[in-house]
Amino acid sequence: MRYAADRILSLLLLGLAAFIAVQAWHLEVPFSYDPVGPKAFPLLLAGLLALLAVVLFVRPGPSGEWPSGALLLRLLVVMGLLVVYAALFIEAGYLLITALVSVAIAWLFGASPLKALVGGVLLALGSYLLFTYALGISLPTGSWIEPLLGAN
């Protein structure tokens, strides 16, 4: 088990190298004056990667600490939150979704609910003002707010 991580990594890299090689091999090259073409360089790299992967399999280093249980769950939750942040960034509008996501992340990182609420809301407001007025970045208002603001 001590070397499991590097061994798994080595197999993944071998798979990647094979995938790249197959993909590169099937590139259709129209006539050109370039003696090398687009295939050679990726094929060369795939070969090098495969070679290095084999060396890694033979001489693996000790595996580090990998997250499991509650920590893994938290990592997935944070990643999920970021995906939600991305998905709703334009729809919900910057202010609302930033506040929600900030509050949730702050809470996940161990802030008390009150602190998380106040901190997250202030962060969203403060960053909105900074980006819009100091840096002139236009951030999404949110499609549900626009009708409320009237036509403009």
Binding site: P35, V55, L82, A86, F89
Partner: protein, 502 residues
């Protein structure tokens, strides 16, 4: 010969650029001081800012270089006060810096490290001013074959010198180069590895890549740290803020020696602050540690890595500005930033872009003075940044990452891609990779292939062109030498220094 510098000061002394150098120094120090955010993360997170402001190339480079050198200053604070190095380059600073802080000398330790950083950077910037034009003259002789050999040399010296694991450094570099092949092939117009996604036709965007790789993966790592409670010790009180002249004089030779060591190591392509500070520290320990007090709070043990650290930061600009080969992961990011302005890095940059190069070098002089003036009296103020709680810091990093990518692309695909790259970066770090080789490979990959193909189309496909000139043969030999020397050096060390290994 030094026309470029005079011209450069003309650029750097305009009010806008002076202001940007100051802003960069300030932001850099603040970001470098934030817990867990080292120089390379700081610059990755703040990079989009330079584009947001709509600055010309030389101005945004001045801002970014200010952030870079500033964050090297800021990074030492968590090393000294909390015993938590912000990045690999700051590990050596903790060895004597933190014991000093525990003795109640936190203030003088911060002051001394500011002074040594200043001297180290000054020595290196002078070296940069002297050597860069000389190297640029040689660089003009570089053809595509020599350039290709030079990049092989850069990767070889990086894998030999950087990180504890040369194998993973190489794998990381190959992965980076592979990522750079995504998109339209410039030679033939063929689409490579785009999987029918139009967003990938132009290749993976540099900003998306950097922010994903560093900022997003950092969020996940910070969650782990917070969960395991494996840092955040008590912060030592600052105490007396100013360092005494006698303390600086006590360290003067340590500082000067280490500055030169740092500069030389910084100039080598691919090796950066972590190697420089380690070599400087061990050298200084050998030379001046008479009473075995290194590691228990010896001022020289703090001054040496700090001077070397900053000297190598400035030194790594030499290969970047003259050859277009970054000397470190951070300069790779700066180089990538330049490429977004359609400035082709490479041997001709010094000739073609004297405004950019000269302006940058001049702003390094100015920024260095500003940093000393900021850091000496205000160390206590900056130290407060260390106490920013993680639950506030993490959402801020997320916000900066999202807004940074959004304002460049206004496109959700780019944000999803950033998140995917973030997971990739997190996995790499968990597998024990350092990210700098990946960035270096990503930035250099396109140039590498282009030069290889250009060389081979000159020779009509004959590979021999790659080792026909004296220059390229020399570079191949140098690459082989740096790749194999560490193997022997390891054995020599084991033979002669068995007692010192502790």
């Amino acid at each position: 010969m030094f026309d470029f510098l005079i011209q450069g000061f003309g650029v750097a002394l305009t009010p806008l650029n002076l202001g940007l150098a100051f802003l960069g120094a300030l932001l850099g120090t603040l970001f470098g001081a934030l817990p867990g955010i080292g120089p390379i993360n700081g610059i990755a997170i703040l990079m989009p800012l330079a584009y947001t402001l709509g600055l010309p190339a030389e101005s945004s480079l001045i801002l970014l270089a200010g952030i870079y050198t500033g964050s090297e200053y800021g990074g030492r604070m968590s090393s000294i006060l909390l015993n938590v190095p912000g990045d690999a380059g700051a590990v050596m600073t903790t060895l004597d810096g933190h014991p000093l802080a525990k003795k109640g000398l936190a203030g003088p330790a911060l002051g001394l490290s500011a002074v040594s950083s200043f001297i180290g950077a000054t020595v290196a910037i002078l070296g940069l001013t002297l050597f860069a034009p000389l190297l640029a003259i040689v660089a003009v002789k570089f053809g595509p074959a020599e350039f290709f050999a030079l990049m092989i040399f850069a990767f070889a010296s990086m894998s030999a010198m950087m990180g504890k694991d040369p194998l993973k450094t190489l794998i990381g570099a190959v992965l980076g180069v592979l990522i750079s092949t995504v998109g339209v092939d410039s030679g033939t117009g063929v689409l490579r590895f785009t999987f029918d996604m139009p967003e990938l036709y132009d290749g993976i965007d540099f900003v998306v890549m950097i922010i994903g790789l560093f900022a997003v993966s950092e969020i996940l790592l910070m969650l782990e740290h917070a969960f395991r409670h494996d840092q955040d010790g008590e912060m030592a009180p600052i105490g007396r803020v100013m360092v005494k002249m006698s303390e600086v004089l006590y360290c003067k030779w340590a500082i000067l020696r280490s500055s030169v060591i740092g500069f030389v190591i910084g100039v080598l392509p691919g090796t950066g602050a972590s190697v420089a500070s380690a070599v400087a520290y061990t050298t200084e320990k050998r030379i001046s540690d008479h009473d075995n007090s290194f590691g228990t709070g010896n001022m020289r043990g703090l001054a040496a890595p700090e001077a070397a650290n900053n000297a190598s930061a400035a030194g790594s600009f030499v290969p970047m500005l003259t050859l277009g080969i970054p000397g470190s992961g951070t300069t790779a990011i700066l180089l990538g930033a330049l490429m977004l302005y359609n400035i082709n890095p490479g041997p001709m940059m010094f000739r073609e872009q004297p405004m950019v190069v000269g302006g940058l070098i001049a702003s390094l002089y100015i920024g260095n003075v500003m940093l000393l003036l900021l850091n000496l009296p205000l160390a206590g103020v900056f130290a407060r940044v260390l106490q920013v709680p993680r639950w506030l810091l993490v959402p801020s990093v997320a916000i900066l990452a999202f807004v940074g990518v959004y304002q460049l692309h206004s496109d959700l695909m780019a944000i999803y891609l950033m998140l995917a790259i973030g997971v990739f970066g997190y996995l790499l770090r968990k597998f024990g990779f350092s990210l700098a080789p990946v960035v270096l490979g990503f930035v250099l990959g396109g140039l590498m292939e282009e030069n290889l193909r250009r060389a081979l189309s000159i020779s009509g496909g004959d590979l021999a062109i790659l080792w026909q000139s004296g220059l390229s043969i020399g570079l191949w030999i140098a690459a082989a030498a740096v790749a194999f020397i560490p193997l022997f050096a390891g054995r020599l060390k084991a033979k002669f220094l068995p007692a010192r290994s502790a």
